[in-house]
C-alpha cells in the first residue's frame, strides 16, 4: 500500500479548517441542551406527573434511535416546515438560503439534551437530601440551595459523564456531512474525490478526531481537578 504522504499532509491542514465547524456545533448543542436537560432532570426527580412521562418518552425515543436517523428525519422535516410557515406568513424568504449548520444545531441540541438530562438526574440524586434540608434550615430558598449547595456538588459527580457525552457528541458531528455542512469529514472527503485518495483522507480525519478528543479529555481532567478540590480538603 502506497500512502501519498504529501497529499495527506496537505489535506490534514485543509481539514483542520473544519474543526471550527465541529466545535461550533458541539458548543451550541451543549449550551442549548444544558438548561433544557436541567429542567427535564428536575421534573423527573420531583415527579411532576405529566411532564415526567413526556420527558421519559422523549429520552427513550432519542436514546433509542440512531443519530443518523435523527439527522435524516430533521433534515427532511425542518426545511419543509420552515417553508410552510414562511409561505403561510407570506414572507419573501428562500429556505435554501438557510445555512445547513442550523439544522445541525437542532439535531445535536435535541440529541444532547436527552443524554444530558439523564446525567444530571443521576448526579443530582447522588447529593444527599440532608444537604438541601440543611440549606433550607439556615434560611436559604430552594433556588439558592440548588445554586450554592446542591449543583456544585452534583457537578463534580457529573463531570466524567459530561466528558463522555461531549466526546460522543464530537464523534457524532462527523455525520453532519449528510446535511451538507462542511466539517472535517466533509472537507477531507471532497479532497479525496479528486484523486480517489480516500484512505489517506480518512486517516487524516481519524488523526484529527484523536487530537480533538484527547484535548477535550485533558481539559475535562483539569476542570475535574479544579472542582473536585473541596473533596481533598474534606479528607485532610
Amino acid at each position: 500500500m502506497e500512502l501519498d504522504v504529501n497529499y495527506m499532509i496537505d489535506t490534514f491542514f485543509l481539514a483542520l479548517g473544519g474543526i471550527s465547524v465541529t466545535l461550533q456545533i458541539t458548543i451550541v448543542a451543549l449550551l442549548v441542551a444544558t438548561p433544557v436537560a436541567f429542567f427535564m432532570a428536575i421534573s423527573k426527580i420531583y415527579k411532576v406527573s405529566i411532564i415526567k412521562q413526556i420527558v421519559s418518552g422523549y429520552v427513550s425515543l432519542i436514546r433509542g434511535t440512531p443519530m443518523i436517523l435523527q439527522i435524516l428525519i430533521i433534515y427532511s422535516l425542518v426545511p419543509s416546515l420552515i417553508n410552510m410557515i414562511v409561505k403561510g406568513l407570506g414572507w419573501d424568504f428562500n429556505v435554501f438560503d438557510v445555512n445547513p449548520i442550523i439544522y445541525a444545531y437542532i439535531v445535536f441540541s435535541i440529541n444532547t439534551s436527552a443524554g444530558l438530562s439523564e446525567v444530571f438526574r443521576s448526579a443530582l440524586l447522588t447529593v444527599n437530601v440532608g444537604q438541601l434540608e440543611a440549606a433550607h434550615a439556615i434560611g436559604m430558598s430552594t433556588v439558592q440551595a440548588y445554586r450554592r449547595i446542591v449543583i456544585p456538588q452534583a457537578l463534580v459527580v457529573a463531570l466524567p459523564n459530561i466528558c463522555n457525552l461531549t466526546i460522543n457528541l464530537i464523534k457524532g458531528t462527523s455525520l453532519v456531512f449528510m446535511m451538507t455542512v462542511k466539517d472535517i469529514t466533509a472537507i477531507a472527503k471532497i479532497q479525496a474525490a479528486f484523486g480517489y485518495n480516500y484512505i489517506e483522507s480518512y486517516i487524516d480525519i481519524f488523526l484529527i478526531y484523536i487530537i480533538i478528543c484527547s484535548i477535550t479529555q485533558l481539559l475535562f481532567a483539569l476542570v475535574e481537578k479544579h472542582f473536585g478540590s473541596y473533596k481533598s480538603l474534606k479528607n485532610a
Binding site: M1, S60, L61, R63, G64, T65, P66, M67, I68, L69, Q70, L72, I73, S76, L77, S80, N83, M84, I167, K171, G172, S174, L175, T185, Y198, I199, Y202, I203, I205, F206, Y209, I210, I212, C213, S214
Partner: protein, 234 residues
C-alpha cells in the same frame, strides 16, 4: 407540497423488516467477535505485563476517540489494500458485510473490554483467594466464583454497549451494505425522495422497538441472575 402520509409508514415497515435478518446478523456477529477480542483486551489490562497492558490501553483510548463512520471507511478502503499488499489476496468483490463486521468488532471490543475490566475489578479479591484456599484451580475459581458475580455487575453496561453498537451499526449502509437502513435509502430513491420522511420515521420506529426489547430483556436477565445476590444479603 404533498401532505404527510402516515399510512406510508405502516406500509413500508414490512418491506424494511425483510432486511432485519441482515441487520441482526451484523449486530450479533460483531457482538460475538467483539466480546472475544474485548475479553483478550480486558485480560491484558488486568493481568498483562507492561507491554500488552500498554497496547490494550492505547487501543481502547484510540477507538474511544474514533467516530464509527470514520473507522468504517478506513476499514472499507484500507483492508483490501492491506490484504493485497501483505498477502496478495484480492478481496475487492467480497460481500460488504465483512467490512461492517470487522469495523464493529473493533469498536465493540474497545467498549466491552472496559465493561469487562470494571466488572471483574468490582469483585472482591477475597472471593478468588477463598476459592483457591478451598482447593479450586485458578480456572475453576474464575469460572465458578468470579464470573457469575461479575456478569451480574457488568450486565447493565454490556446492555448499554450493545445498544450503542446497534445504533452505530445503522451506518453500515454508507458503504453500500443493504441492511434495513440500506433498504430504506433504496426505497427513498425509488420514490425520487418524496417519501423520505415517512421511510425514516418507519426506520426510527423499528430501531426504537428493537432497543426497547433489548433493554427489557436485559432487565429481566439481570433480575434473574441477581437472585443469588439477594439471598447472600439476607
Amino acid at each position: 407540497m404533498r401532505p404527510f402520509d402516515p399510512w406510508f409508514i405502516v406500509n413500508v415497515i414490512p418491506d424494511l423488516l425483510a432486511y432485519l435478518p441482515v441487520t441482526l446478523f451484523m449486530i450479533v456477529g460483531s457482538m460475538f467477535f467483539g466480546s472475544m477480542l474485548g475479553f483478550i483486551l480486558a485480560r491484558a489490562k488486568i493481568k498483562g505485563c507492561r507491554i500488552p497492558k500498554l497496547l490494550a490501553d492505547l487501543y481502547i483510548a484510540t477507538l474511544r476517540c474514533t467516530p464509527p463512520i470514520v473507522l468504517l471507511f478506513i476499514v472499507f478502503y484500507g483492508l483490501p489494500e492491506l490484504l493485497k499488499v501483505t498477502m496478495g489476496v484480492n478481496i475487492n468483490a467480497i460481500y460488504k458485510g465483512v467490512f461492517v463486521l470487522v469495523t464493529f468488532t473493533l469498536l465493540f471490543a474497545a467498549s466491552v473490554a472496559e465493561v469487562m475490566r470494571s466488572a471483574y475489578e468490582s469483585i472482591d479479591k477475597g472471593q478468588r483467594e477463598a476459592a483457591i484456599s478451598i482447593g479450586l484451580s485458578e480456572f475453576q475459581a474464575f469460572y465458578r466464583i468470579i464470573l457469575p458475580q461479575a456478569v451480574v455487575v457488568g450486565l447493565p453496561n454490556f446492555c448499554n454497549a450493545l445498544i450503542n453498537l446497534m445504533k452505530d451499526g445503522s451506518l453500515a449502509f454508507t458503504i453500500g451494505l443493504i441492511d434495513m437502513m440500506g433498504e430504506g435509502a433504496l426505497i427513498v430513491s425509488r420514490n425520487y425522495g418524496s417519501y423520505a420522511l415517512e421511510t425514516y420515521i418507519a426506520l426510527a420506529v423499528i430501531y426504537w422497538s428493537m432497543i426497547i426489547v433489548i433493554e427489557k430483556s436485559f432487565n429481566l436477565l439481570e433480575k434473574h441472575l441477581s437472585k443469588g445476590k439477594a439471598r447472600v444479603m439476607a
